[in-house]
Symmetry: C2
Subunit: 171 residues, 2 copies
């Protein structure tokens, strides 16, 4: 099957977001087993000026949602960024998966050269062709936040391995 | 320009490996300015059973090198994994970039359905079609090790921001 803008995006996002849910499942179980407040994990930052786990998850969701919306033109819901618990974070991931599942392949395929303008921070925008936007902006950002979430959990003793990140519940 | 197995791989690896060199440049400058032994960074692990920075860089290089070799059939050099200094790690990245630059697009394009068998750990192998291997194995691993390197440096106070990760020296 030829590589397309659809196969290079939606199934990858779905796969990794499901793996992310699996990481959160294991983190929540760890907090329960060790009898500590799960917010010790959800509010943890690897450095004082890095974002806590909650924001890593929210951004890991918004990256593919907004990226796919901009490329496909299929309107996406906005979320309030008010998740605090593992259950709420997993619901956020599920809402993102629901949106992605509703985007038809045809809305993405053939968009390689479409010009995409997107915000960078609060005061400027960048414009890239959709192929470059997907491969050198949306994807690196997406993996950045999932991996940072993994690193936060590992740093705090949650028993995870690379297989949990790569294949999720099938690990 | 249509998305291809080449455009979805080599230019992405080159872009992010150059950004990784930029992260190491800033880390080395930080150690020099603060007058501490750079090995405090290169040997640092985010958890006792995670790999140190040196191994994160070596694996961030081997992922694309071995991935592209398996998909394209273009033989790649093997490296000894003996890098210890920032200069040596940057040379490792450069040798990887040299290999990637020599792989013709034609050797990758049209390989979507080629069956790729690759080692997972020391005792088993997996087989996937090249498209899936690239998108759900090589890429997630590649970004995992670059982001973990970034997290190690940020956790240790190196002044980096997302722009350094995303656009490197152009940040």
């Amino acid at each position: 099957m030829a590589l397309t803008m659809h196969t290079a995006s939606i199934p990858v996002f779905q796969h990794m977001l499901r793996n992310l849910t699996h990481l959160l499942d294991k983190a929540e179980a760890h907090a329960t087993a060790r009898k500590f407040d799960p917010s010790a994990l959800t509010t943890f930052r690897l450095a004082p000026d890095m974002l806590p786990l909650t924001r890593q998850i929210q951004i890991a969701c918004d990256g593919p949602k907004n990226g796919v919306m901009r490329i496909s033109g299929v309107e996406a819901p906005k979320f309030e960024d008010n998740e605090a618990t593992f259950a709420e974070l997993k619901a956020r991931i599920q809402k993102t998966l629901d949106y992605l599942a509703g985007v038809p392949a045809d809305a993405l395929n053939g968009t390689e050269d479409k010009e995409i303008t997107f915000p960078v921070g609060k005061e400027r925008t960048l414009t890239m062709k959709a192929q470059n936007y997907l491969l050198t902006w949306v994807m690196p950002n997406f993996y950045f936040h999932i991996t940072t979430a993994y690193a936060i959990l590992r740093h705090n003793g949650v028993e995870l391995g690379k297989q949990d990140y790569l294949v999720g519940a099938r690990a």
